[in-house]
C-alpha cells in the first residue's frame, strides 16, 4: 500500500487586503500518496495556485494542518528543516520569471545541489548538471553555459524541471508548467514530466486549468472553485462520469478537436461571471451560475462527501434527491454513502 506523502486537513488561506479579505483557500482536505499524480483543476480565482504555494511554504496557512511524511509543514519554508526542503520542490508557471537572468544554466540547475552540499566543487556540480540536462532532453554541450535570455520558452521550462528534480525530491508541485508554451513543446515537456515521475518515483501536485492536460497526466483529480473542492475522483471517473454541475460545465466548455471528445463532453454551459473572491456568494459558491440551483443551494453550503467509492462531491443535488427522507444534518456526515439519482439530474438539464 502506498504511503500518504502529503496530508492536508481543513486548510484555509485568507489574504487581508485593503479592500477586504480574500478567501483564497476555504477549507480543503486531501491527501497525496507516494508515486501519485494528484491533479488540481480550476479557473482563475479558484485558489489552485495558492494551494501549491502554501504547500511549498511560500505562504503560511491561515488555519489547518499540512504534513509531509508525517512532519508538520504548516509553516513558511524558512522555518522548515533543510531535509524537508531537499525533498520537495516546485516548477512555476512563468518560465522566464523562475530563472535568474544573470545566471548560467549550470548555476541555476546546480543551485540546489550546492545548497544541500550534494557536490564537492564546481567540476562535480558540472558533472551532475550535465546528466540532469540530458534527462530533460537538453544537449548539455549547447546549454550548460547559456543564460536564460538565450533560451526559448520550452528550454527554460526544461531547465526549471531539471532544477526541480536535482536533489531527487519525492514531491514536486507543478503550477501550470506548460501554460506559457506552444502546443508542440508542451507535448514534449509533458512527456518528460511523465517519464521523470515514473523513473524517480515522485509524486506530483499538478495544477492547471486545462482539462485536456489533466486527463493525460493525473491519477486523481480535484476540481476547485473559489477556495473549495467541488469534486475529487480518480481520473477516469472524473472525466467519464462527473457528478458535480461545475465539473460538467467545465468539461462542456472544453474546445475539442475530435469527434470522440465531443461525444464525451457533457452538454452543459455556464452562465455569468466568476464572483469576486472578496464577495463570496452565500451557501454553495457556485449557485450564481449553476443551471440546477435550488433554494437550499443559496442557503446552505454543501460539504465534500464520499458518494461513491473514492468519489467525493460537494453538491446538494448529488447528495440526496429526496431531502424529505433525510435529515439535512445527517446528510452532511462524512462516513455515510448515499444513493444518488443520476437520471434525475439529467432530466433536469434537458
Amino acid at each position: 500500500m502506498a504511503e500518504n506523502l502529503i496530508e492536508v486537513k481543513n486548510l484555509k488561506k485568507y489574504f487581508e487586503m485593503e479592500a477586504g479579505t480574500v478567501k483564497a483557500i476555504d477549507d480543503i482536505t486531501f491527501t497525496i500518496k507516494e508515486n501519485e499524480v494528484f491533479g488540481l483543476v480550476g479557473e482563475s480565482g479558484s485558489g489552485k495556485s495558492t494551494t501549491g504555494k502554501v504547500l511549498m511554504g511560500i505562504h503560511p496557512p491561515t488555519e489547518g494542518e499540512i504534513s509531509f511524511r508525517e512532519h508538520d509543514i504548516s509553516t513558511p519554508s524558512a522555518k522548515r528543516s533543510k531535509a524537508i526542503k531537499r525533498d520537495m520542490n516546485m516548477v512555476f508557471q512563468d518560465p522566464g520569471g523562475s530563472l535568474n537572468p544573470t545566471k548560467t544554466v549550470l548555476d541555476i540547475v546546480g543551485l540546489p545541489l550546492r545548497i544541500h552540499d550534494m557536490v564537492d566543487g564546481k567540476k562535480e556540480m558540472a558533472k551532475e548538471v550535465y546528466q540532469l540536462l540530458e534527462t530533460v532532453d537538453l544537449d548539455p554541450e549547447r546549454f550548460m553555459y547559456r543564460r536564460p535570455n538565450d533560451l526559448g520558452q520550452g528550454e527554460k521550462q526544461a531547465v526549471a524541471i531539471a532544477r526541480a528534480i536535482a536533489t531527487d525530491p519525492s514531491f514536486v508541485v507543478l503550477d501550470e508548467p506548460t501554460s506559457a508554451l506552444d502546443v508542440s513543446i508542451q507535448a514534449k515537456i509533458m512527456n518528460i514530466l511523465i517519464d521523470l515521475q515514473d523513473e524517480y518515483n515522485m509524486s506530483y501536485l499538478f495544477i492547471t486549468h486545462d482539462l485536456g492536460l489533466m486527463r493525460n497526466i493525473a491519477d486523481r483529480v480535484a476540481i476547485m472553485y473559489l477556495g473549495r473542492f467541488f469534486e475529487v475522483a480518480d481520473s477516469q471517473v472524473f472525466f467519464e462520469t462527473p457528478l458535480h454541475p461545475y465539473t460538467k460545465v467545465l468539461l462542456g466548455s472544453f474546445p475539442t478537436t475530435t469527434e470522440e471528445e465531443e461525444k464525451l463532453k457533457p452538454d452543459l454551459k455556464a452562465r455569468g461571471e466568476i464572483p469576486s473572491a472578496m464577495d463570496l456568494p452565500s451557501g454553495c459558491k457556485f449557485h450564481t451560475r449553476c443551471p440546477f440551483k435550488e433554494e437550499r443551494c443559496i442557503e446552505k453550503e454543501p460539504k465534500l462527501v464520499e458518494v461513491q467509492d473514492d468519489h467525493f462531491v460537494a453538491c446538494h443535488l448529488v447528495h440526496g434527491v429526496d431531502d424529505v427522507e433525510y435529515d439535512v444534518e445527517e446528510v452532511e456526515q462524512e462516513e455515510r454513502e448515499f444513493e444518488y439519482d443520476v437520471k434525475g439530474i439529467e432530466m433536469r438539464s434537458g
Partner: protein, 321 residues
C-alpha cells in the same frame, strides 16, 4: 543521486568517464561563449548612439592623463612651488613653449591643467569606491527585508543623510576640520552613499517577489547567498550607470570645494584650486581660470555621455517577430 537511477551498472562506469571528458571540454570553451554574445549585444546597444562613443573616448583620455600626465607634461616642476616671473601671463596660442599661456607665477597652464586631471579623477575614484559598496550593501539588505524593521531602520538612516544638501554638508565638515583633499573626499562620501542604498533598495525590493527568488528560498538557500548571489547581479545596470554619471558630479563638487578653499591648497594643481587662483585675473588674463574650468567640463561631459551609453547598453530590448 542521479547515479542511483542508472540501471546498467557496468555501462555506468563508461558513462562516467565520457561525462567527465565532456565536462572538461566544456569547461575550457566556456570562457568565451556566453560572455562574447552578451558583450556583443551590450556593445551594439551602446554604440548605436555616436555620442556614447565620444563619451567613452573622452573618459579614456581623462583617465590616461590622470595616470600618465606627469610623464608627458612639458614642465613637470610647474606643478609645485615653481616661480618664473619673467614668463608670467604669457598669452595662449602665442608661444609654442607655452601653448595655453602661463599663470601669475609663470607656470605653464597646459602642464598644470593636465596634472589637474589626476586630482579630479582620483577624487571620483576614491569617493565611489567608498560609497558604492557601502550604499549598495545597505540597500540590498534593506530591500530584501522590505517592510520589516530592518528595512525601516536602514532606509530611515539613509534618509537622514540624503536630507542634508550635499554641498552644505561638505562645506561644514571641511570647515570644521582641515582644508585638505582627504577631508573633502570623506565629506562627499558621507552624503553620497544613501543614493546607492536607494537605487539598490528599489531594484531589490522589486525583485524580491520574483519567482527565481522564491525558488531559491523554497529550496533552502541562505538569505545571505540570495542577497549577494541572486539579487545583486540583477542591479548592476542601474548602479553602473549611476556610478558613471556620479563621477561627473563628484568631480564638480570636489572642484567647488577646492574653489572655496576647502580642498587642495595652492600650489597643488587641482583644477578647482586653479580656477580660484586665476579668478582675480579673469578680466585680463582669463586663461588662467578658463582652461582649468574647461578641463572640468571636459571630464564631466565625458562621464555623462558615457553614462548615457551605459544606460542604453543595459536596457532590456523589445522588438519581436
Amino acid at each position: 543521486m542521479a547515479e542511483e537511477h542508472n540501471e546498467d551498472k557496468e555501462g555506468f562506469e563508461e558513462d562516467e568517464e565520457k561525462v567527465e571528458e565532456k565536462v572538461e571540454e566544456i569547461f575550457e570553451e566556456r570562457e568565451e561563449s556566453p560572455w562574447k554574445d552578451a558583450l556583443k549585444r551590450r556593445w551594439y546597444r551602446f554604440s548605436r548612439n555616436p555620442l556614447s562613443l565620444v563619451g567613452l573616448a573622452i573618459t579614456i583620455i581623462s583617465i590616461f592623463l590622470a595616470v600618465f600626465g606627469e610623464y608627458i607634461v612639458p614642465y613637470p616642476e610647474h606643478g609645485g612651488h615653481f616661480r618664473n616671473y619673467p614668463d608670467r601671463f604669457i598669452e595662449p596660442f602665442t608661444n609654442w613653449s607655452y601653448p595655453l599661456g602661463t599663470d601669475n607665477y609663470g607656470r605653464d597652464v597646459l602642464t598644470r591643467t593636465i596634472l589637474g586631471f589626476r586630482y579630479s579623477i582620483r577624487m571620483a575614484f576614491v569617493v565611489l569606491s567608498l560609497v558604492v559598496p557601502s550604499g549598495v550593501v545597505v540597500g540590498l539588505v534593506a530591500g530584501y527585508h522590505k517592510d520589516t524593521w530592518v528595512d525601516t531602520l536602514l532606509m530611515r538612516i539613509s534618509d537622514i543623510f540624503i536630507a542634508v544638501p550635499p554641498l552644505v554638508l561638505a562645506l561644514s565638515i571641511t570647515a570644521m576640520l582641515e582644508p585638505e583633499p582627504f577631508y573633502a573626499m570623506m565629506a562627499i562620501s558621507l552624503m553620497w552613499w544613501p543614493w546607492y542604498a536607494r537605487i539598490a533598495y528599489n531594484n531589490v525590493s522589486s525583485l524580491v517577489n520574483e519567482e527565481f527568488v522564491k525558488s531559491a528560498e523554497i529550496m533552502g538557500d541562505s538569505k545571505l547567498h540570495i542577497m549577494f548571489s541572486e539579487l545583486l547581479p540583477n542591479c548592476t545596470g542601474p548602479i553602473l550607470t549611476k556610478m558613471t554619471l556620479d563621477a561627473g558630479w563628484v568631480i564638480i563638487i570636489g572642484a567647488s570645494l577646492s574653489f572655496v578653499g576647502l580642498g587642495a591648497q595652492p600650489p597643488t594643481p587641482d583644477l578647482g584650486t586653479m580656477v580660484a587662483g586665476g579668478s582675480d585675473y579673469l578680466a585680463h588674463q582669463w586663461w588662467v581660470s578658463i582652461f582649468p574650468a574647461m578641463a572640468i567640463s571636459f571630464i564631466i561631459l565625458g562621464f555623462n555621455l558615457l553614462g548615457d551609453g551605459i544606460q542604453d547598453a543595459f536596457e532590456e530590448s523589445g522588438g519581436g517577430s
